[in-house]
């Protein structure tokens, strides 16, 4: 595992919850709770999970917008959790945000947006114009776009600019936090295509965050599914979509509206998930999924499950994989 570009080790983030007369801290939101994750060079790793499961918090910790409460971020063999803010690190890790509309400053032109990383990272100003042109070219936009303002661009074009900005300082890892969720499918397809092409050209690694599992399936090499701050299941795309093991993954897959019979056949036949996601400020005891799990049994209430390695690439955090505990409950069929 030493060849990994990025390693997250027991990464956690707690936000204080304040209440009462003096707004004392009365508890914590465990937004991210002990996440282990690795990304190799040139690899695309997906992170799926529903709203509030902590995906963005992981992303923000990786790029240094938040400092982890616990755990480490190791980049290229170096522990950077303490120096997340340093420029050298920032140059190598970039981020593209969900909403193309809000990730560009409406008052600043495309060129202005692209200049920020160039200036910060000491690129000589004489080369900026050339650099901006080649960046725009890379994301397939005409050079005249440099002078445009965000409101003059369509959603897909804005997202391209955002990608160009991330590429400006030649990073090695780009964190994509739901980069296409605000786009139409037809536009999404073009952006995804672009991302893949750039990855091939520049040998980038992506951490791809989305709750669109169909997209995940096509885009990522490996996928992790998060539930309430913890990884529920992790594996290669095939592992996860062809052999989902965690009841939550199964439920999630079953919920996806699909457009063909062929896909329908791939969906687990399991019952649909019921109920709402519990508040992360008030996580259920034991297994955090048990309140919605169709297979929950007594042990789930008391003991928090650990990861069970199902294969070299596939792991799932569920008591069903533990023969000792799951004796009474009927195991799921794969």
């Amino acid at each position: 595992m030493s060849g990994n570009l990025l390693e997250l080790n027991q990464l956690s983030k707690r936000f204080p919850v304040r209440k009462g007369l003096f707004q004392r801290v009365v508890g914590h939101v465990n937004a991210v709770d002990g996440v282990d994750l690795t990304i190799g060079r040139g690899e695309i790793v997906g992170l799926a999970g529903e709203s509030g499961s902590g995906k963005s918090t992981v992303a923000r910790m990786i790029v240094g917008l938040l400092t982890p409460t616990e755990g480490t971020v190791t980049f290229d063999g170096e522990d950077v959790s303490k120096q997340l803010g340093t420029l050298a690190f920032k140059r190598r890790v970039q981020m593209v945000f969900q909403n193309p509309g809000s990730s560009l400053n409406p008052r600043r032109s495309v060129a202005d947006a692209l200049k920020v990383p160039l200036r910060v990272h000491g690129v000589p100003s004489s080369t900026w114009a050339e650099r901006i042109r080649s960046l725009l070219e890379m994301v397939e936009l005409p050079a005249t776009f440099a002078q445009k303002y965000p409101h003059e661009l369509s959603g897909g074009q804005k997202q391209r600019v955002a990608i160009a900005r991330a590429l400006a300082v030649q990073p090695e890892l780009i964190v994509l936090d739901e980069p296409t969720s605000a786009l139409d499918v037809s536009v999404q397809a073009k952006v995804i295509e672009l991302l893949l092409r750039i990855r091939d050209e520049l040998d980038l690694a992506y951490l791809f965050i989305s709750h669109d599992l169909s997209l995940m399936r096509n885009f990522s090499d490996r996928v992790g599914v998060m539930y309430l701050g913890k990884l529920a299941e992790m594996g290669t795309s095939d592992d996860l979509f062809l052999r989902p093991q965690h009841p939550y993954t199964q439920g999630l897959l079953a919920s996806i509206p699909v457009v063909s019979e062929a896909e329908e056949a791939l969906k687990p036949t399991q019952r649909h998930l019921k109920g709402e996601i519990p508040s992360p400020a008030n996580v259920p005891s034991g297994c955090r999924f048990r309140t919605r799990c169709p297979h929950a049994f007594d042990a789930c209430r008391e003991v928090a499950p650990t990861f069970h390695e199902l294969s070299a690439t596939h792991a799932s955090r569920c008591h069903l994989h533990d023969p000792a505990l799951a004796g009474s409950a009927e195991p799921t069929k794969a």
Binding site: K19, G20, L21, F22, Q23
Partner: protein, 341 residues
């Protein structure tokens, strides 16, 4: 519970604000060039007399000590002694405040009674003739200096038409002491003195209009724009789509949510209402705390100035507490969640 905490926290915070205010105002009062002792004793007093009084008043002590004494007094509700009236500022304020309160309350009532319907209807019938007329009226209310309105009213109603008294709170020939609430309108009713009541109302009309003009304008403008904002909300579209009649939608489903921003801003705008009261009271010779304050300011009566400013601040803070409570009533989001900050 959260809401209670919220209100209590606001209350505690208000105390801090008032204390901060007392520091600011104390600092200002102490750079006043006048010598309070000299002011108290009048122009012909001998220097030794002045020095003696200075010591008696504790003006020789270092400033922090003086402030500590002042703040100590404040906490016990003691505002010190006025130099000009030679009595405690508390009793001066107690004498003058009801007049201001009466004026301000009348103004608020009038402003709400006119401004709110004006805003609601203008917002409801956006761009209609009524809307344009209403906006025009509201705008004039907001931009016309209150003292100018006061003068115009005096000129028009007092001199040209000669229908209303232009000065004071009660005709001097009427013997009446408002000693229950201090509010003439209420005390005269309690005492069954209809003549006094009528006279007080007649005196109240012009100052109230002059003072209310700006607030009417503000309320109408705010209500109108929040009505328009609210009318674009999904839930209003929903209410129409579910077949609720327009009238009910407007006067129930739109009105209450649009009242929230109005109420919030009204609380803050209250400060400028109080400020205008200072001008209007002067023009109409209204024997209130504002006239008292202006006189005190003009004559560097520093305890009185500080007292008036503190009471004004307290009044403002109290009104905003009331607003907070009302907001909690109107807006369950505040009541249930409590609000941050």
């Amino acid at each position: 519970m959260e809401y209670l905490f919220f209100v209590v926290r606001r209350l505690l915070w208000s105390v801090v604000v008032l204390l901060g205010l007392s520091i600011v105002i104390f600092t200002i009062a102490r750079v006043v060039p006048g010598d309070p002792a000299r002011i108290a004793l009048g122009p012909l007093a001998a220097q030794e007399q002045v020095d003696k009084l200075r010591t008696e008043m504790g003006l020789d002590a270092p400033l922090p000590v003086q402030y500590a004494r002042y703040a100590g007094g404040l906490l016990q509700g003691d505002l010190g002694r006025s130099l000009l009236t030679q009595q405690s500022v508390n009793s001066d304020v107690r004498q003058t405040f009801p007049a201001t309160l009466e004026l301000v309350l009348a103004t608020l009532i009038l402003a709400l009674a006119i401004g709110l319907p004006l805003g609601v209807l203008a917002g409801r019938y956006k761009d209609s003739l009524f809307d344009n007329l209403g906006r025009f009226v509201a705008l004039f209310g907001v931009v016309t200096p209150s003292f100018f309105i006061a003068l115009l009213l005096q000129l028009l109603a007092g001199y040209v038409l000669q229908i209303l008294p232009v000065s004071g709170r009660l005709s001097p020939n009427l013997e009446f002491e408002a000693n229950r609430t201090g509010l003439l309108l209420i005390d005269s009713l309690i005492a069954g003195r209809m003549d006094v009541f009528g006279d007080a109302v007649r005196h109240l009309i012009l100052p109230t209009i002059a003072l209310a003009a700006a607030t009417i304008g503000q309320i109408a403008r705010l209500t109108r724009s929040s009505m328009i904002d609210v009318s674009r909300k999904d839930y209003i579209e929903a209410s129409r789509a579910f077949g609720i009649p327009n009238r009910i939608t407007t006067f129930t489903y739109m009105l209450r949510p649009s009242f929230i921003p109005t109420l919030t801003v009204l609380g803050l705008e209250f400060a400028s209402l109080l400020g205008n009261a200072f001008l209007v009271e002067m023009v109409f010779g209204w024997p209130g705390m504002a006239s008292y304050g202006v006189r005190a300011i003009m004559q560097n009566d520093f305890n009185a100035v500080m007292g008036v400013v503190m009471v004004t601040g307290l009044f403002f803070v109290l009104i905003n507490l009331v607003v907070d409570v009302l907001l909690g009533y109107v807006d369950p989001r505040i009541r249930i969640k409590g609000s941050q900050s």
